[in-house]
């Protein structure tokens, strides 16, 4: 009887643990027909705001707490593009860092005023360990992120 109970518990636990490791595809799937290199996309992002696009690259950052965003490295040096979902819509695993990913979705423009731009740039400068002069920022900036409908993390 005890053996049966142990087996039942092991199956339950195993199925729970199994569900946490299996999924590497999220959402509706990716469409390679829309593939655009990140460097091309970021060279003229306003041209792509209306259409679905697919990007490909190495995952170099993942939201540690909620798994609600990932940063994808561009084919251009030092350039990245963030993929952002609503909390819980897709949960990207922290262990995905360093793997290749494909993501299909809509490019979104985040337009900041001058004050916000200075705060964001100050934050980035602090992270990079660089000096920052707020007065040097005189133009508001626009940042771009991909809101995906499908993401595939390649093992």
């Amino acid at each position: 009887m005890k053996t049966k109970q142990f087996i039942a518990a092991a199956i339950l636990l195993g199925s729970l643990v199994g569900t946490s490791q299996a999924a590497t595809d999220f959402g509706e799937g990716v469409n390679r027909d829309y593939l655009v290199p990140v460097s091309i996309l970021m060279a003229s992002p306003e041209d792509y705001l209306e259409n679905a696009v697919t990007i490909e690259g190495t995952i170099v950052g993942v939201c540690e707490h909620r798994g609600c965003w990932m940063t994808i490295a561009s084919d251009k040096r030092f350039q990245t593009l963030r993929i952002k979902v609503k909390d819980g819509e897709m949960v990207f695993p922290l262990t995905a860092r360093g793997k290749k990913a494909l993501a299909t979705g809509q490019l979104q423009a985040l337009r900041y005023d001058l004050e916000q731009t200075r705060e964001i740039k100050a934050h980035y400068a602090k992270e990079a360990g660089e000096a920052f002069d707020a007065a040097s920022v005189t133009e508001p900036m626009t940042m771009y992120q991909l809101v995906p409908t499908g993401v595939s993390i390649l093992d």
């Binding site: 636990l13 729970l16 643990v17 569900t19 946490s20 999924a23 190495t58 170099v60 540690e64 707490h65 909620r66 798994g67 490295a73 040096r77 030092f78 819980g88 949960v91 695993p93 922290l94 262990t95 995905a96 860092r97 360093g98 793997k99 990079a128 360990g129």
Partner: protein, 192 residues
């Protein structure tokens, strides 16, 4: 039909259903409660991963003369690591990140002359419970979750008919306790 209807002992039926559904809900309740606590405090700790960071000062004076593979070897040897490398990435000209096979990362900050090692350990059980709680599995689990919610409603309402006499639901103490269950959430709604 009416005779049969009248012959049912509703009090006993309610108690039996409350008892058996209660047993059935124990597992569900523990899963949702444990992951609920974990997710509630997501700002204070990471419920899905145990993340440890170690940082070491390194003599990196000649590292810029090396290629990426050689830099990676130096970074790994700083922490005596042997894991395979998945990929690497220059964030900018001063910061280089290496992604190791098991999800761990190494980070070289050239300005600070530091290498940091981030060790990631998935909290396997808690991660699985959170996945169910946050309904990441979707599909059939949606129906199970709805069923569980329905059973909780039944347990709450059937509790009103479990006890008769001085501890019954119409007694002052019971009314106060039931009212608290409504007023406490209402109070927090008012505060928000």
């Amino acid at each position: 039909m009416i005779k049969w209807f009248k012959s049912i002992n509703w009090y006993r039926l309610n108690r039996n259903l409350h008892r058996d559904i209660g047993y059935f809900c124990i597992g569900f309740s523990i899963i949702f409660a444990v992951s609920g606590i974990a997710v509630n405090h997501i700002a204070d700790w990471n419920p899905n991963y145990a993340v440890e960071r170690q940082t070491k000062q390194v003599d990196d004076s000649d590292w810029l003369t090396l290629d990426d593979q050689q830099i990676i070897q130096r970074m790994q040897s700083s922490f005596d690591l042997t894991q395979a490398v998945k990929s690497s990435f220059w964030q900018n000209k001063n910061q280089f990140e290496v992604f190791l096979d098991d999800g761990d990362t190494l980070f070289w900050d050239r300005r600070q002359h530091q290498v940091s090692y981030q060790d990631i350990e998935p909290r396997v059980i808690l991660q699985a419970l959170n996945k169910l709680h946050l309904n990441e599995t979707r599909n059939a689990w949606v129906y199970f979750s709805d069923l569980f919610a329905g059973m909780l409603i039944f347990l709450a309402l059937s509790a009103l008919f479990m006890v008769k006499g001085k501890h019954g639901p119409a007694k002052p103490k019971s009314i106060v306790l039931m009212s608290l269950g409504v007023f406490i959430p209402a109070f927090f709604l008012f505060l928000s």
